[in-house]
């Protein structure tokens, strides 16, 4: 088999030599035979003639020899290709429309697939990435020694902390950058090396180790001009001097894209709060070769009682037993959040390609009807139906190939745009590229598209028995062609209906989501993160923080166009979350049971008023709620209803479990959506800014000016107060809300775009079939008009056809949508997946589109001149 293939390939690629040798061999034969004949007394001329004649037609023999060598198909293919090129050049309009339609479908598919490939399919960019597993998150950092000593499934276990930002101060310029506190094994477990210098060494996270840092390649080139003497330089991170020991590999960013600084955690056993209280550590590991994820998971759960017992206080017995606490492959975990969404888009874009193919198939059919004569002539001259069908297929492949190439061009432009536009928290977007896998996919999609587009027409190649068609100018093989074309259009419409209904549901759902009252006023509010170093403010002492924020309030208040200045520890809807276990009066927690908890906020006195949060009972904070005055708290309505339903919470006491002093509740405010518009309001617990040392705060100002215009002045104001504190994430509250719905919004817009494209293609399909029908039935229409039909009757012929096509497509499409609606269950908010409004409006869209598509053909039909048609016969 291999030998044969090699032989064939040799014959193909050394074609000239093959031909030359074959000629030489034949010549030798003829001459040899002629010599023998001469020897027997035949005259030389006669001998040569006879010898040649023995070969029959030399070319025929050669052809057979070629076929024996298995290369005749290549000759025929070349012929087909040449022929296809000629016919397509003769029909440039058809070719162009086909190529564009396919390019649109293939381009959209390639673009979406390149994202899927980068985000879901590619292996993680780490050596043996399939052995990397996510072990646990929201764990105490204090469990690290247990994992180091007792977990046998791994070559190494590493950790990183939640909280992805740090203050970087270098060359007197403060900047907020993405940074992580990680264990010493972080780089070695991932298998990542340093571009310059080194990564962390064992023991660098031990108490008393020298303060070091590794920076990213990007930060190194952006901020330090790719300084070759970077290693050993001092930088300040969160107010602490650290020595840069290395620059990580180019492109490395983990656990999230954009991470630029890594520092070792401090495993100081004295620091009980950080080791056991913070509970913000993520554990991941590299499995030993041959160890399965299931095995590691068993071990993980076997270790659970050990870890629970290691806490300095008694943990709830249920802690860690949740079903979401299990060992998973790292790549699967990273993909989990976007898998469904991308799957939906991929399905939708696949439908777009199907519709595009159906459209091209339709174009083909229509054209085929016009080519009957040519095809019959070819069959009369000895081309088999199979040969003609193959010819059509090759033509279609050429179109699909060109469409695919144009599609790749579309994807090359579209993919970076899509990547830039997708929500920035989409994992692994940096791995998205048009690579070999993507191009392979495109090639496959193109061939399948060509096959699909050619299949129908190939089945409709007229039989040579209809040879009398050669004499007859008006071949009426149009009927079956028309029926197949109609079927294709119905399929197109049905597919378009599915997409339009899907997109409609998402649009309605997004509308519902955006209509949710966030509980705050978003207009004319500009926000910015203020993140002082912990040493400056935040290490337990309230006073420096109070002074800092009071001074900042004065400076910012002096900026023209700013009418109010407030602070909050957490901005609604910006993706942050926090949770404190609390002691609540009237609600004691039995030992061993899970703690009750609330979402803590620290706010300045005027924050509620600025944000439009209403005071429902009691009072808001005032300037008199000071460091020295009695501790007070305000809770949200949801919290009030949860803990004290039907009674007033005013005067009740509440406190975080580790604090000694109780806070007295003085007011209840309206609920605010913190975790997302789709999520239920949380149990909110507010403390006044002067009574809780919250390190970093978000500056919230009322201003008519755009964030971009305000940013410079805000930074200058902060620099006057404190030159080392960075100001970051300047955005309007409107932007915050928009970002919070980025993921449903992008999905909706993409799906709506795909639906619009299929709707357009469907309309073009309907138009094409009607238009062709009018051409086919010119004679009939002419006769009808001659015997008294008026324009309205003629129009009705066309419109009726359109109505039948659209109605059939609608019926199929709506049924399919109704049955398949549950696929969208995870994507809709506030509407049923069988939303009545969507299922009523979508058909109306198609009725309008069907009418529009039939308008021109109907008009053309009325312009048929009966006399011309009848005389033309």
């Amino acid at each position: 088999m291999i030998a044969r293939l090699r032989d064939m390939l040799r014959a193909l690629f050394h074609r000239r030599r093959f031909e030359a040798e074959m000629s030489e061999e034949f010549r030798f034969h003829i001459e040899q035979q002629a010599e023998d004949l001469v020897r027997r007394g035949v005259p030389r001329d006669e001998a040569l003639r006879r010898a040649s004649a023995g070969f029959g037609a030399v070319e025929g023999a050669k052809d057979e020899a070629r076929e024996a060598r298995g290369i005749r198909w290549a000759d025929e293919l070349r012929g087909d290709l040449r022929y296809a090129g000629r016919t397509l050049r003769r029909a440039p309009g058809f070719a162009l429309v086909s190529i564009l339609t396919l390019a649109l479908g293939i381009g959209a598919n390639t673009t979406i697939f390149s994202v899927i490939n980068g985000v879901l399919l590619k292996p993680l960019p780490f050596p043996d990435g399939e052995r990397l597993v996510h072990i646990a998150e929201g764990y105490p950092l204090g469990a690290q020694p247990i994992y180091r000593a007792e977990a046998a499934s791994y070559d190494g276990v590493a950790t990183y902390e939640s909280g992805g930002e740090v203050n970087l101060l270098a060359e007197q310029r403060p900047e907020r950058v993405m940074g992580r506190s990680v264990s010493a094994e972080f780089f070695s477990v991932l298998g990542v090396n340093a571009e310059l210098g080194r990564t962390f060494q064992p023991g660098e996270d031990a108490p008393g180790a020298a303060p070091v840092a590794v920076i990213s390649y990007g930060l190194w080139s952006r901020r330090f001009g790719s300084d070759p003497a970077m290693v050993g330089k001092p930088i300040m991170i969160d107010g602490r001097p650290r020595e840069v020991v290395g620059v990580a590999e180019r492109g490395f960013a983990f656990p999230v894209a954009g991470t630029e600084v890594w520092t070792p955690v401090d495993l100081n056993a004295q620091n009980v709060g950080e080791l056991w209280g913070a509970m913000g550590t993520t554990y991941f590991g590299r499995l030993k070769p041959g160890v399965t994820v299931e095995h590691a998971d068993l071990e993980h759960h076997a270790l659970l009682p050990r870890i629970r017992g290691a806490f300095p206080w008694r943990m709830p017995d249920l802690w860690g037993t949740g079903t979401d606490n299990h060992v998973r492959r790292l790549d699967e975990l990273m993909a989990a959040g976007v898998k469904q969404r991308l799957g939906l888009l991929f399905g939708a874009v696949g439908l777009v390609l199907l519709v595009a193919c159906a459209n091209v198939a339709n174009l083909n059919l229509t054209r085929l009807a016009g080519r009957q004569r040519e095809i019959l002539v070819r069959q009369a001259l000895g081309g088999s139906r199979w040969r003609v069908a193959r010819q059509l297929f090759v033509e279609q492949l050429v179109l699909a190939g060109l469409g695919g190439a144009a599609g790749v061009a579309i994807a090359v432009v579209g993919t970076p745009l899509l990547v830039a536009w997708l929500p920035s928290d989409t994992p692994r977007l940096d791995g998205v590229a048009i690579d070999g896998t993507v191009l392979g996919f495109t090639a496959l999609a193109s061939v399948l598209a060509g096959l699909f587009a050619a299949l129908g027409p190939m089945l409709r190649v007229p039989r040579a028995e209809a040879l009398d068609g050669l004499g007859n100018r008006n071949i009426s093989a149009g009927r079956p062609v028309g029926r197949l074309a109609g079927t294709l259009v119905v399929a197109e419409i049905a597919l378009a209906v599915v997409l339009v209904v899907g997109a409609g549901l998402l649009v309605r759902s997004l509308g519902r989501l955006l209509a949710v009252d966030p509980g705050i006023r978003v207009e004319q509010v500009v926000t910015a993160r203020i993140t002082p170093d912990p040493a400056r403010c935040g290490d337990g002492d309230v006073r420096p923080c109070v002074a800092l924020y009071a001074a900042l309030e004065r400076e910012v208040g002096a900026i023209p166009g700013v009418s109010a200045v407030e602070f909050a520890s957490m901005l609604p809807l910006d993706g942050q979350s926090n949770w404190y276990p609390m002691n609540v009066e009237d609600h004691p927690v039995p030992p061993g049971a899970p703690a009750t908890g609330l979402t803590p906020h620290v706010v300045s006195p005027g924050y509620f008023a600025l944000m439009g949060v209403r005071v429902e009972r009691g009072r808001a904070f005032t300037r008199d709620d000071r460091v020295t005055s009695p501790l007070v708290a305000v809770i949200g309505k949801a919290a009030a209803d949860y803990y004290w339903p039907g009674t007033s919470p005013i005067g009740k006491k509440i406190k975080p479990v580790w604090r000694k002093e109780w806070y007295t509740i003085v007011g209840v405010v309206s609920d605010v959506h913190q975790a997302g518009l789709h999520a239920r309001p949380e149990l909110d617990f507010y403390m006044p800014i002067e009574q809780w040392a919250a390190g970093s705060m978000t500056l919230v100002v009322r201003s008519t000016r755009a964030p971009a215009l305000l940013e410079g002045e805000l930074k200058r104001a902060l620099a006057k107060v404190d030159a080392t504190t960075p100001l970051s994430r300047v955005q309007s509250m409107e932007q915050v809300v928009r970002t919070s719905v980025a993921s449903p919004r992008t999905t909706t817009i993409l799906l709506a775009g795909f639906a619009a494209v299929t709707l357009l293609l469907g309309a073009v399909g309907v138009y094409g079939v009607l238009s062709y029908g009018v051409t086919q039935r010119r004679r009939e229409i002419g006769i009808r008009m001659a015997i008294g039909a008026v324009a309205a009757d003629v129009r009705w012929i066309v419109v009726r056809r359109a109505a039948v096509l659209v109605a059939t497509g609608l019926a199929i499409g709506l049924t399919a949508s109704w049955l398949g609606a549950s696929a969208l269950r995870g994507f809709v908010f506030g509407v049923s997946v069988r939303d009545g409004v969507t299922f009523i409006i979508a058909p109306m869209v198609f009725v309008v589109v069907g009418f529009l598509a039939s308008y021109l053909p109907a008009r053309r039909a009325t312009m048929v001149a009966p006399r011309e048609v009848l005389q033309g016969e």
């Binding site: 030998a3 044969r4 032989d7 064939m8 040798e21 074959m22 030489e24 061999e25 034949f26 030798f28 034969h29 001459e31 040899q32 035979q33 010599e35 023995g54 070969f55 029959g56 037609a57 025929g60 023999a61 057979e64 020899a65 070629r66 076929e67 024996a68 060598r69 298995g70």
Partner: protein, 115 residues
């Protein structure tokens, strides 16, 4: 296609393999060889010979190489491969079985088929 070729449809390959197995030679030589050994009874058309040769070579049953003919002309010589040898043997056996079966049928007397 001539009558001889029709007759030889299935057996041409076998004849060629046999002819090649008698010794390395070129296409014309093979033709002569088959004609002579059949006592001029079988005449093979060049038009069938070469496609068959190319096919057999493509199947890996024979191999070819360029060499010098008796009168010092460049010619393409054919030679049997081990695979070709096996094929020839198999086909010869098959042929013999077929011939003896047919012969047996043709030589049957009426007495032999009476129950």
């Amino acid at each position: 296609m001539s009558k001889a070729a029709d007759l030889l449809q299935g057996t041409l390959d076998m004849l060629i393999l046999k002819a090649v197995s008698l010794g390395t030679t070129h296409g014309y030589g093979l033709l002569l060889r088959i004609q002579q050994s059949s006592g001029q009874a079988l005449e093979i058309q060049q038009g069938s010979l070469y496609p068959a040769l190319y096919r057999l070579e493509h199947q890996g049953l024979i191999i070819s190489a360029w060499g010098e003919s008796d009168n010092n002309r460049r010619a393409k010589f054919y030679q049997l491969t081990p695979q070709g040898k096996r094929r020839l043997k198999a086909e010869q056996e098959e042929w013999s079985r077929l011939v003896s079966a047919i012969t047996a049928v043709l030589t049957t007397t009426p007495a032999a088929v009476r129950p």
